[in-house]
Amino acid sequence: MSTHNCDSCVAIAELERMGLKLDRYDRVVALAGNPNTGKSTLFNALTGLKQHTGNWPGKTVTRAEGGFEFNKVRYKVVDLPGTYSLLSASTDEEVARDFLLFGRPDATIIVTDATALERNLNLVLQVLEITDRAVVAVNLMDEARRKGIEVDVRSLSRDLGVPAVAVVARTGEGQHALLEAVDAVSSGTVVTKPTRVTGTPAFQRAVAELVPLIEAAAPGVPNARWIAIRLLDGDAQVEDALRTGRLATLADDQQKQAERFSRKIALEGAQ
């Protein structure tokens, strides 16, 4: 495949859909977002799979996985259930939250609805509490235009501290720019500074005090700061996960998997 770069080229030129071929991948990308914002449509566009899409919130309740290759990098995409928040106890929110925390994706695409940006940003801010490596895809731009809504993605990018890209998942508009942003964030060439809601000084002190304790109790835990916030909030599920050691084992498992994977890559590279 030639790698000439031109702006007029369609995104497809460098995108190779790999469907379910997931045996080897270099990076993991998660798709998060509110229900019915087009995550599954984007997932299908990227992977060439035919994940069921439907115009109703809550359609995806399990996570779906697929693969694609962009600029010679192989990605595994995980389509998470759509949620309004990450704070409640329903199964779909748990699936999404657990993956963001313990799956440690190399990048998370947060898909938002351009026609209801304010509501969507609530979830964006919550996801940014968990992960640094995020790209905001402002989807459904066609519907927004029809409704006379203009979205300034540069302003959004600046305010959120992570790249924001305008897309229309159904037609492929903006897909190339989105994938470049994903590439930059997941490879670390672009360092993000996600906005974090700070809270009162007393709250900040409490969080700062808990973080080292959590790291000691569950070594290798991905985001101790977020766990600390949830513990202060009295999240029974997170408390339980810490007490039963699930937190530690989950982090452990993910680490082992990553190690096995790099060993495999190293071996294959040596051949």
Binding site: I149, D152, L231
Partner: protein, 461 residues
């Protein structure tokens, strides 16, 4: 491990102490600050530049979710979908059936000519092949029409409106309003409907939704309902009214299913799953133009062929079992007849007969094959050759086997209410991880089916 547990407890203690030092409103404050931040960022990034103009979406929504027209429009849409399905499937079904059965006769004669022993030849062609031929000709045309129509409504964004319209009923029954969504998914497949209950937060309401999902007929049961409605209800009328009346009967059955869903939800939420209905927000998404190719793909490949394949996988062995039962004789009567005779008193008590119950037992793996199984047992016992049209079918059932309108009505009710198929029961187990709930999920509908059909039969007589 112990040191880890101790460390965890230490963290939790410290967190509890720190929580006390924060003033009580900090939690709301945190949520409020996220909301405030979201509002600020959104204001800066998004602008309403042009007038929204005429908002068609909102006009349509006012109509389809209106307290007066909402429910009638819904029933009417359902009726239209069924009518198109029934009217459109009739002819291709009959054509497929006569084609398949013609081939069966030719093949049987051909291999007989080659000197293949009758029991191998009969087993293959009159057993396995006939089972497959039935399933395909009865199921394929209705599914190939129904699924694309249903997928189109789903893609358009109509399902959340259905949930909106039915919300007050579910809340009244102590169940979650989103149960209307999972119920709608059950029309496709009850196992899929049960997986869809994950959108319901509260475990109590989710269990209610799981246990009652069976009361909407899945596509495996639709062909049964459609066939019975056509033969027994539609045939009372003539011309165009045939299919309209049949569609009306199917809508009626679905309506009864919804009533049972609500009634059982109500009963559950007042007995073993006591509690209040919880509040939730439901977004009414904008209407979107459905993608034709995607609809065809989803509905034909993902749904129709998937379901058909599953039916074929179970129909072939079932056809074999029936052929064996019908051709091994003990004391002059076949095993099938013996079993049917044994079940007959129970069948008669609920307005059905032994053969129908036998068919339901053989069809536990998949509901799709109930009718073919039943017909094969009937045909096996009366030496009737082929049934290629609905008229022949009526002749077979009414004249040869004494079916009445009561039989048809009770069979529709039994089909609507009886236990879910093995796949669904397994799904209930996987979703609840409890043998108790899986058992209840199977036995509750089954006993209800017996109770209701027995009551109808008793009152009727």
């Amino acid at each position: 491990m112990t040191s880890r547990a101790e460390a965890a407890d230490a963290v939790l203690d410290r967190a509890a102490t720190l929580r006390d030092t924060l003033h009580s409103g900090f939690r709301d404050e945190a949520v409020r600050s996220i909301f405030g931040e979201a509002t600020r960022i959104a204001r800066r990034a998004a602008r309403q530049v042009a007038d929204r103009g005429f908002d068609l979406d909102q006009r349509i929504d006012r109509l389809v979710t209106s307290p007066i027209f909402g429910l009638p429009i819904m029933a009417l849409m359902l009726a239209v979908v069924f009518w198109v399905t029934i009217a459109g499937a009739n002819v291709p079904s009959a054509m497929l059936a006569s084609g398949f059965f013609w081939f069966e006769d030719q093949a049987f004669a051909f291999f007989q000519g080659l000197g293949v022993p009758w029991w191998i030849n009969g087993f293959v062609w009159h057993g396995v092949y006939k089972g497959l031929a039935w399933v395909i000709s009865v199921m394929l045309p209705p599914m190939a029409i129904f699924f694309p129509l249903f997928t189109m409504l789903e893609d358009l964004g109509y399902l959340p409106r259905v949930a909106f319209n039915l919300d007050f009923l579910f809340r009244g029954a102590g169940a979650h309003g989103k149960q209307a969504l999972t119920m709608a998914m059950g029309f496709g497949c009850n196992a899929a409907g049960i997986i869809a209950t994950r959108v319901i937060d509260s475990p109590r309401e989710r269990l209610i939704a799981i246990l009652t999902n069976n009361f909407v007929p899945c596509n495996g049961r639709f062909p049964t309902l459609i066939m019975l409605a056509t033969i027994f209800v539609g045939a009372q009328f003539s011309g165009v009214f045939t299919s309209i009346a049949a569609a009306g009967a199917v809508v009626g059955i679905v309506g009864i299913g919804v009533v049972f869903t609500l009634a059982v939800s109500w009963a559950l939420s007042r007995t073993i799953l006591r509690g209040e209905a919880s509040a939730f927000t439901l977004e009414l998404p904008p209407y979107r133009r459905p993608g034709v190719m995607r609809i065809l793909y989803t509905s034909l490949i993902d749904r129709t062929l998937f379901v058909l394949w599953r039916a074929i996988l179970t129909a072939a062995p079932a056809g074999a079992v029936i052929w064996i039962l019908g051709n091994i004789t003990a004391g002059g009567t076949s095993l099938a007849q013996h079993t049917a005779n044994f079940l007959n008193p129970l069948g008669q008590a609920i307005g059905l007969d032994g053969v129908i119950l036998l068919a339901y037992i053989i069809a536990i793996p998949a509901n799709e094959i109930v009718v073919p199984t039943m017909l094969m047992v009937y045909m096996g016992t009366t030496q009737m050759t082929d049934v290629s049209s609905f008229d022949d079918l009526k002749e077979l059932l009414v004249v040869k086997h004494g079916w009445t309108l009561l039989t048809a009505v009770n069979l529709m009710l039994f089909s609507l209410l009886h236990n879910p198929c093995a796949t669904t029961i397994l799904t209930i187990y996987k979703e609840t991880l409890s043998k108790k709930w899986a058992t209840i999920g199977a036995l509750l509908p089954l006993s209800l089916a017996f109770l209701v059909t027995w009551m109808v039969a008793t009152i009727w007589r």
